[in-house]
Symmetry: C2
Subunit: 416 residues, 2 copies
Amino acid sequence: MSTTSDTFFSSRWVERPAQVRELAGGLPRGFRAAGAACGIKPSGAADLGLLVCDAEDAVSAARFTRSGVLAAPVVVTRERCDVTRLRAVVANAGNANAATGVDGIEAATATQAAASRLLGLPPDAIGLGSTGVIGVQLPVDRIVTGLEQLAGALRADGDADFAEAIRTTDRSVKKCSLLVTLPSGEVRISIQAKGAGMIQPNHATMLCFVQTDAVMDAETADLLLSVTVKRGFDRITVDGQLSTNDTVILIASGASGVRIEAESEDELLLGEALDAALRQLALMMVADGEGADRVGRVVVTGGDDRQVEAAARAVANSSLVKTALNGGDPNWGRIAQAVGGALLDSAPLPLDIAIEGIQVCAAGAALRYDERALNEAVKRAEVEYLVALPGEGSETEVFFSDLGHGYVTVNAEYTT
Amino acid sequence: MSTTSDTFFSSRWVERPAQVRELAGGLPRGFRAAGAACGIKPSGAADLGLLVCDAEDAVSAARFTRSGVLAAPVVVTRERCDVTRLRAVVANAGNANAATGVDGIEAATATQAAASRLLGLPPDAIGLGSTGVIGVQLPVDRIVTGLEQLAGALRADGDADFAEAIRTTDRSVKKCSLLVTLPSGEVRISIQAKGAGMIQPNHATMLCFVQTDAVMDAETADLLLSVTVKRGFDRITVDGQLSTNDTVILIASGASGVRIEAESEDELLLGEALDAALRQLALMMVADGEGADRVGRVVVTGGDDRQVEAAARAVANSSLVKTALNGGDPNWGRIAQAVGGALLDSAPLPLDIAIEGIQVCAAGAALRYDERALNEAVKRAEVEYLVALPGEGSETEVFFSDLGHGYVTVNAEYTT
């Protein structure tokens, strides 16, 4: 087992649960992975990953984007696989295989068939994930050739290569390996994810692959994934753009022999661990938002569920709030404006607004505040905004990237 | 009367109606205006405008932002004025008088009182408009002093100074003076507007002041304004941000003696003229969007009213589509993605997409197309996107700015 490191839980908004220790890397027992360049990315960088679970009785769970425009790998994994019995994942970067029609579906099933043959697994046990440019056909031949190489390179510490291979505009690799101490014994979790642009997951998320050697039912796997995705990836936005390709797959090998019974203390503590890990990964996506320098967190309280969600999304996706965050500008009027724009015909709206604990607006009107303290606070890497609507009903949060020259540079020059 | 020019109707998306002639400037009979610097803008640029209608039987109509956070001038004009009997407008730039609480309302009513005294009109006949930074108290003393100067400087050709005084980040003055030939005689229209950022009007718009010397009932004024605002300002977005201050005021002096009867040919033709003028001004706001280089038009057909509106807004406000427009990048996959993100759980969605008449996607799948022709088309100043949803039900359009480094520069560095 790898040595303990302590670099993953880096955001002030995520605490490492006491039952969790960070490992330097590696997959849980029962998993092997590999990643390499197969020629999809023009840059020649790694672009194909393969992950296999060797346990015949593994269970799995998955979540997908709710976009009306679904990429072929999402359609094929959702409709042609048994998502409770996935045993392998093929993931590529450099091409989303979206808006590619019947040819795209055929490319996805051909990928599945090649992996099936190489791994000796049924095609419906092989999940797919793709990310990259939309509207360009997938080069299936290169992927098949690539898979042949990868099948011979699978290793218990192949998670780093796999995580490297699913990057697109990500500035950093997003992965973790965790040891979780439960009442019934020790289990491991490893996760590889990618995401930097076209990020506003909706009841699903970006490419994210979770492995554990815990023993669990498919229902438990589904429950754990569903709850933690809602608290993690569903609470972030880089650019307000829901992807055609968001996919999260959890596979449990059971190789640890530690059984997670439904509604047990084990389930609660494993859920806490997974929750913290997915939240941290979600925050890494926001911090790595295309061209981003700073991360904002907006917490909205009061009102009802619909109002706090609308207000928080409006602030998090406001190009005026995001450019102010980028510029280290304490221009809180833009927060009031964004909330007002989200809650039409609700005037008068006696908003309270605080930035980093400094209240700037009470009952809808500007306050006197310590300008120097505020100017300093908004220049930090993480900035927190609190908006209180009238009433005490509800509360939500959204984490978001700033909008700076970097985003424009990445996206005005990132061509098909 | 000024000489005819021909520079206002400059967009390919607006045709000058045959009954309309452009004039170089000037207000219709019965109006006087002035504008000057009164010290609100730190730059010392013009920031206060005054407009007066000398006809005692003038009628008016107004539209306001639907934001939940309303600026004081909106509250005061909407709730304390008779918006069918407005006789004057005081408008300032450099300060929005929004999120300013009771003090802000007092500043607005003090402004109204000063104008009332200077012009000999009741306070409820004086409409207010403000634009600029949110959350800072209006310097009432400077405004009162400024109004004293302006009251002595009112002129029939003061529209240019007035239009100059309401600019904020606008790169150009937005105004027109038109001569409209109706069956019953000639009438004039003049309009002054401002708008470049925080622009996504919702059943209201930015600051825009319309004058005509036609004779009409308040009901006709309201109908004309309501229909033309819906087709003009309500169809644009710069940054998806609804303002706290959007205000449009139309005043008809009746000084021409040409009566516009309800449901007459006069009404239809005057409506056409106003419609073309407001659409052209709306397009000028989009073209002058903060830091903008290009204007996009997305037309969405099919589906139902809710779907085409959601899809068109999603495309027009997608930071990925807007950066691609900025970069002259034919990356149409982002259009498919934005539409899919707006229409959750609607897959499969057999979209047709065409850019400048070149079809790139049919029934949801990429087509072969002339790449060189497309690359050239998307580098023009105006780019048109057509998205066909399944079905034949509905159709809408949204005009939008691109998102470039200029927007970031303006908004990351525009401080309180």
